[in-house]
Symmetry: C2
Subunit: 235 residues, 2 copies
Amino acid sequence: MPRLTPEASAFDVQAALKGVVIDRTRSIGPQIYEALRSRIIDNRFPPGTALSEKEVARICDISRTPLRAAIQDLAGEGLIIVKPQVGSVVAPHDAARVREAIFIRAAIEAAVARRLAETGIDEAALAPVLAAQKAAGERDDYLTFFRYDEEFHRMLAQMADVPKAWQMVQSVKAHIDRQRLHLMSSISGRSMRAYDDHVQLLEAIRRGDAGDAAAVMRDHVNSALETLETGAPES
Amino acid sequence: MPRLTPEASAFDVQAALKGVVIDRTRSIGPQIYEALRSRIIDNRFPPGTALSEKEVARICDISRTPLRAAIQDLAGEGLIIVKPQVGSVVAPHDAARVREAIFIRAAIEAAVARRLAETGIDEAALAPVLAAQKAAGERDDYLTFFRYDEEFHRMLAQMADVPKAWQMVQSVKAHIDRQRLHLMSSISGRSMRAYDDHVQLLEAIRRGDAGDAAAVMRDHVNSALETLETGAPES
DNA sequence: AGACATATACTAGTATACAAGTAAGCGGGC
DNA sequence: GCCCGCTTACTTGTATACTAGTATATGTCT
């Protein structure tokens, strides 16, 4: 026998792919892309997991062609590492990579905040999201809290009319989220600060203080760095 | 006969692909990707050009498989639009898209400038590039001038240690460059201003004034907006 | 003549077969 | 015992055949 995936041989890829169902009436590529991506981000596919195209294709009952397209996209995002003629693995957690992701996100979202401070926004549209986030935070419902956090940021990007920028944020955010979900523990107790940041951001925008709005957003996004530094060393 | 590429039928795709040679000892995908990308950016493939996978594959004497990978990557960058079961075309010039590209680039590079102002840089390494740029500008050698401009920005990103951010800048920069090369005319006379911006940026970084460094970079990148507004209306 | 149904050729999406390359395991030679 | 070289099985890369869907053109009916 040849090598049987040296170390990660214990991991059951098939089990992790259990819930994947492909709708044959739509394109397969984007579907399998989302399925793999979500599993990588929430660490159902631990870093280092070997993903054989042939095996995954067999398990999902699709051909390698659309699967390859998905894998190449994920490789472009840095979530999968493809070694030609050798194999593909889920990218290991890389602190430097996460730090850079935070850097990029902070840069783009600070620019969004700056623009919104210059143009003004519809605060009424944000109010319900903000209220829901506050409520979730007060009852320590982290999952809901972060869903509204995500929604808040998404709405800001939408108001700034920069869909591609938001798309890029989503791309780098994958690395940040994966890290956060990996160090799940340290979330507790820090929720309300994110909410306070949002309130402070809206105040700066309301004043039309572009520099301050950008600074608040920058610090807000960069606060993720603290979680990173205090978390586990490697992985 | 069916439809023979309705309008752009006059354009000779084969001629535009003339110089493409594939090195069979290396992977084909990345090679054809670069070949197509450069031709789209310098407008050898005008916006709207129909790119049939079968035809391009035949002309370049490759199979559709690696070509498709390249086209999908380009579609991800927004340089090609692929309509399932219909066809793929070179993306039309889109002013909104270019504006957003400038927005993103300004955001990221301003953050780079900010970081460099905070950490300090090796100015000596930049001096020769700056000098060469100045010289090129003084003799109205725009091509060389912009090559050193590119190099200057690349070195800054490298000093800030954010390779992925630079990669993203490269991606959005494609849209900016394509627009600039399209409106080639209006370049003239504006060169030295870019050089002056660089000098001013370095001064701010030297002072350690993060806010000013970021502002200078932001304005510098945003100056591309002027070229856009004064250029041709559509295309 | 105009409008609608239909045939047809072209598209990208998918499946599969084959090629090229890598690394682990094994055996022989030293 | 150790090291070199070969075998072998596994990987991704590439080529090709086929499927499904769309828009054009054409013919026909009203």
